[in-house]
């Protein structure tokens, strides 16, 4: 059986510093075995500005077996399938350790976005492009980020503007909006309580 006690604690821990890390985990339904993780695209990469959703399924023996994770948001990356969102990452397979958590796993995925490993590809087409024509790769990845990872992209600038006009720092507004997934009201709540 899944150790739900631990999952609860993980969720609490994660929400505590989700503002700083930008990483969020929330249950999909009420049974805690299906979750959704959210990571912001790392700054200085073609994924910057995007918000990526990751489907998480916990196996029965969690945390003694790795959680199953795959991208729900389409992403152009050598180690992530452009079709299915499957992730090629060692800690999600044989290098998993029960001492790792959902948050550390999501952080590793975020790190993978910053540092692709084209020599160990999940998506051969993307990896080929990455190695042979890096500029085109960056262009495609950026385009995919714009198209799929910023559903509310158009509205974001307006929201930022409105919130800045209320007297909040622009950088803080942006990070808060990112953290809550672009929901203006939630962001306002957070900004006020911070």
């Amino acid at each position: 059986m899944i150790d739900f006690g631990r999952v609860q604690k993980e969720l609490q821990e994660c929400s505590k510093d989700s503002q700083a890390s930008g990483i969020k985990v929330s249950p999909k339904a009420d049974n805690l075995a299906r979750l959704v993780g959210t990571i912001p695209g790392p700054i200085g990469t073609p994924y910057e500005g995007g918000t990526f959703q990751i489907d998480i399924t916990l196996p029965d023996a969690y945390p003694f077996q790795p959680p199953k994770m795959q991208f729900a948001t389409k992403v152009w990356h050598p180690n992530i399938s452009s079709q299915s969102g499957a992730i090629c990452l060692d800690i999600l397979k044989d290098q998993w350790s029960p001492a790792l958590t959902l948050k550390t796993a999501l952080l590793s995925i975020q790190a993978l976005l910053s540092a692709p490993e084209p020599d160990d590809p999940q998506d051969a087409v993307v990896a080929q492009q990455y190695l042979k024509d890096y500029q085109t790769f960056v262009g495609t990845a950026r385009y995919w980020t714009e198209t799929f990872a910023k559903t509310s992209a158009l509205g974001v600038e307006e929201k930022v503007q409105r919130l800045v006009e209320m007297g909040f720092l622009e950088s803080l507004v942006r990070s808060t909006l990112d953290a809550v997934g672009g929901d203006e009201n939630l962001a306002l709540e957070k900004l006020c309580s911070a």
Binding site: G5, R6, P63, F64, S97, T104
Partner: protein, 584 residues
């Protein structure tokens, strides 16, 4: 004249005896333990623990380690003690231990109190846990017992018993097997037994010098060899097999050749005869085509039409008597060559297969000779005669089986050695031809002598008078020596002249053993039953000397158990060594 003759015979008799000494059965201790040859051992369910313990002890003593750490090191190095020691010398203890997942400072945990009264936060379940129900591993990581147990259960069920790592991220340390066993047994006794079995059988599964006997139904034994992986062995269950590929013994064929050959025989033997009589190869795809009626224009399944008379490709327009644009009188070189080639390949295979089959049949028939010869010997022994010793008959028969076997497998060898499948680029046609002549010369000599030996052994010597028996005897002894020499020479020729210059690693051939396939000796399983737990004082490990599996480095204790077992195994077993391994 008479005198002269008899004295000459006497002399020859003597020299024969000398030459044949190796074949005689009266001094097995001397004969059956080759001074340096690999000595194979049978490991049974009962002696497995003992076999494993020998290697464990060696490593424990050399590195002053505890048993589970020694086992971890050995599993990591696939039970190759020599390799393990080489790593130790070359790269140092720290590297050896780190790679295998053995913590360097293994005594650390002993100094730390295992049971403290304070509570500890378990990083896995994230609960505060009383110290008594947590466990600290050698790597100093500490978690609660429930989490450890759950981790072990998952790993054992995943088949990872041999390398259960610590739960901490990036901690490479292998968990103490005693702790694993203890914690798992509390909740899942069955799984703990499974864990123990996995650890025990790792000695066979992860060890390139040990393999399960391939017998079906399985005899439960494994065979351990000492040096050369390329050899043929006999298990105590009676099955003879090639240690490298686990199929029947097949030298002088290499494993690859034998695999190809037996596949080819399976695919083709039944149909080959029918095919050659009833079909012609299609000039395009070379598939055999059967003419199932009608005129001489035949069309293959690939769509190619061809003339049944000449086998050449044609168009499709035809009448009963002739095919448009085709006349068999005209010689079409290219097509002719193609169809010739397919035909030649088939004939070539049949040539070798027929001879292989003939020797296989003889081999089976001669096996029946054993009984009839035994009768003849009994009859002869009853007679009032100066000749009382009839070991030359059994020895001759034995030699016949042995040589027949070599001859049998020399045909598939030749098929591949001089064929185009394996060595096309390795030698020129000219070289191939020279080699083939060289080999076939030897093969023919051997064949002739084997047949003569067979003929003499079939003679009704029990009905002959003494002089004639002496004559048969002389021939049998002579021919035995000759065939043995020829077999040896054939192996030498293969090794040096045929394969030696080809720089090929894939064709290892089990060496020729004049005395037949070595029967693996029972491992000295006189396990010290009282010694369930290893003595902590390694200084007193004197008893281990005896049941230690003869490590390749220790010469003094390697011979003893072998000899003893050989002597026991030999009673009435001389001829059994040559019974076909079954599965023909």
């Amino acid at each position: 004249m008479d005198d002269y003759f008899s004295s000459e015979e006497e002399e020859e008799y003597c020299s024969d005896r000398d030459a044949l000494d190796g074949l005689e059965n009266d001094d097995p201790d001397y004969d059956w333990v080759p001074p340096k040859g690999p000595s194979t051992k049978v490991i049974t369910k009962e002696s497995l623990l003992c076999a494993q313990r020998g290697d464990l002890r060696r490593v424990m003593e050399l590195l002053s380690l505890r048993e589970h750490h020694a086992r971890t090191l050995l599993i990591h190095h696939r039970w190759d003690v020599e390799k393990l020691l080489a790593v130790l010398v070359e790269r140092g203890k720290a590297c050896l231990f780190a790679n295998a997942g053995v913590p360097l400072t293994e005594d650390q945990d002993l100094s730390l109190p295992r049971h403290s009264t304070s509570t500890v936060m378990c990083d896995i379940c994230m609960e505060d846990i009383p110290g008594q129900i947590t466990t600290r591993m050698d790597c100093s990581h500490c978690y609660c017992n429930d989490c450890w147990t759950e981790h072990f259960v998952v790993k054992i069920n995943e088949g990872q018993s041999k390398r259960i790592k610590c739960m901490a991220h990036k901690c490479n340390a292998i968990c103490d097997e005693a702790i694993v066993r203890d914690l798992v047994r509390r909740r899942h006794p069955d799984l703990a037994n499974k864990f123990d079995r996995f650890l025990l059988e790792s000695y066979i599964e992860d060890n390139k010098m040990v393999k399960w006997c391939p017998s079906t139904p399985h005899c439960g034994n494994a065979i351990r060899i000492e040096e050369d992986e390329c050899c043929e062995v006999e298990c105590s269950c009676g099955l003879q097999f090639c240690f490298s590929c686990l199929s029947e013994p097949h030298s002088p064929c290499s494993c690859l050749m034998w695999e190809l050959w037996s596949k080819k025989c399976r695919d083709e033997s039944e149909t080959v005869n029918w095919i050659t009589v009833h079909t012609k190869p299609c000039p395009k795809c070379h598939k055999p085509v059967e003419k199932n009626g009608g005129c001489n224009l035949v069309s293959c399944i690939c769509g190619q039409a061809f003339c049944w008379l000449c086998g050449g490709a044609t168009g499709r327009d035809h009448t009963w008597s002739n095919i448009a644009g085709h006349s068999c009188g005209r010689y079409k070189e290219d097509q002719e060559q193609k169809s010739e080639r397919a035909k030649r390949d088939l004939y070539r295979y049949m040539h070798y297969h027929n001879r292989y089959k003939a020797h296989l049949d003889s081999f089976k028939l001669e096996n029946k000779l054993r009984e009839t010869i035994q009768e003849k010997v009994s009859v002869s022994e009853e007679k009032e005669s100066a000749l009382r010793d009839f070991t030359w008959v059994t020895n001759g028969l034995y030699r016949l089986f042995r040589s027949r076997r070599v001859l049998l497998y020399s045909y598939p060898f030749a098929f591949y050695m001089f064929g185009e499948e394996l060595f096309t680029d390795e030698m020129t046609d000219e070289q191939r031809e020279i080699k083939q002549h060289l080999f076939e010369d030897q093969q023919q000599q051997l064949e002739a002598n084997v047949e003569r030996l067979s003929k003499f052994l079939e003679e009704p010597f029990d009905e002959y008078d003494e002089k004639k028996v002496m004559d048969v005897r002389m021939h049998v002894i002579n021919l035995s020596v000759v065939t043995d020499t020829l077999c040896r020479k054939m192996y030498e020729c293969i090794e040096t002249d045929l394969l030696g210059c080809l720089a090929l690693g894939t064709h290892n051939i089990a060496p020729y053993k004049s005395k037949g396939i070595e029967r693996a000796a029972a491992l000295n399983a006189k396990a010290d039953e009282s010694d369930k737990y290893l003595p902590l004082d390694f200084g007193k490990a004197g008893a281990s000397e005896l049941d230690r599996p003869s490590g390749s480095g220790s010469l003094d204790d390697s011979g003893r158990p072998t000899k003893r077992a050989r002597t026991e195994g030999l009673v009435g077993a001389l001829i059994d060594l040559n019974v076909p391994a079954g599965g023909y």
